[in-house]
Amino acid sequence: MDQDRRTFLGQTGKLLVLTASAAIAWEHVLAGRPEDAPNYRSTDHWWGMSIDIEKCIGCGTCVRACKTENDVPREEFMFRTWVERYVVDPADRDHPQVDSRNGGYDGFHEREVLDPNLKMFFVPKLCNHCTHSPCVQVCPVGATFESPDGVVLVDTAYCLGCRYCVQACPYGCRFIDPRTETVDKCTLCYHRITRGLTTACSETCPTGTRVLADLKDPKDPIHAFLREHMVQVLKPQMATGSRVFYNGLDGSVR
């Protein structure tokens, strides 16, 4: 495949007018094996994501893109990322009504009862790539770990399938892939971000709700995002050092 791509580009001899960043990105792709790409040094990055709830329209494109990109089973109860819809009665904030039919894969249908007093919004969720991951802590064999660039990954060739990590994740981000009998979860599209691309969900998000963030890159927009918004993470009481930062996260979100 790489060969085809290379020969095609060579044969056409097209003059490529690209921005510098795009050129680097494509070079990574062309390099095939990302570790051969000279431009990626894992210690130069510290990945996370910003999610702007005020922008999310609940279209589910990210959920579909994630399943496509990462070959996630098309089951209604296996997701690397999913979207929840919250309906909050301001007078009863402790009991939000939440739905996430098929994880938001098919988008959200209009609710029948439209009470103008209710607050509604969408919350996209994914692995929080915690700095102090409970899942990494409990893995008995080192089959799930935090990469040097801060991504929580699974070694499917080493995972026992004991499921302790599934129990330990406070956010419900892990599931067992029935095809491999090992645990599966969001890798923050590690195969993409190490090639200079963004994640599939960020790539396809039409409203710019989800943006991949490199906290070690001083020029990354994440710094402005964190500075200019009131930012919260999910379940801060869990003290996991979550690196998925939400703008506009309502206190009723669990």
């Binding site: 795009a22 050129a23 990105a25 094996r33 990302p34 494109t61 770990f145 691309l197």
Partner: protein
């Protein structure tokens, strides 16, 4: 009995030396090659840069309108196969009604600032492209 225990412990040490993957622990308590295992997946979405490389003209049109920040594959779907083999794999043209409806159907749950219509009232049938330029949808 002590001998048995000694044999057992020795066997364990030898076994451990033989069976632990060589790269285990090089970077942390995991197989270092698990990193490359995670990197080595094929791309399915090619990414903006790859699309723009050939379709700079479309990108130029799009850059002037409200869809400037919507990436090509949001609507056109995953096209790494096309980017790798532009002549061989031709993408399917997105349905010019259903594609738009995915985002622009009115919903009380959506942020009010987002442009949304009730499709049945706005245009009961037909292609959205009949009135809108999809890559630069003017709001009239």
């Amino acid at each position: 009995m002590a001998g048995l225990f000694a044999v057992g412990i020795t066997a364990f040490v030898v076994l451990r030396w033989l069976m632990v993957p060589a790269d285990f622990g090089a970077l942390g308590h995991y197989r270092a090659s698990a990193l490359t295992d995670n990197m080595d997946r094929p791309l399915v979405f090619a990414g903006q840069a790859a699309c723009v490389e050939c379709h700079a003209d479309v990108a130029e049109v799009r850059a002037k309108g409200r869809h400037a920040r919507v990436s090509c594959e949001s609507c056109h779907g995953a096209l790494a196969v096309h980017a790798s083999n532009p002549a061989g794999v031709k993408p399917v043209r997105p349905d010019p009604r259903r594609t738009c409806i995915v985002c622009h159907t009115a919903s009380i749950s959506k942020p009010t600032s987002f442009p949304q219509v009730v499709p049945a009232a706005h245009a009961p049938e037909g292609s959205c492209a009949a009135c809108h330029v999809v890559h630069n949808p003017k709001i009239s």
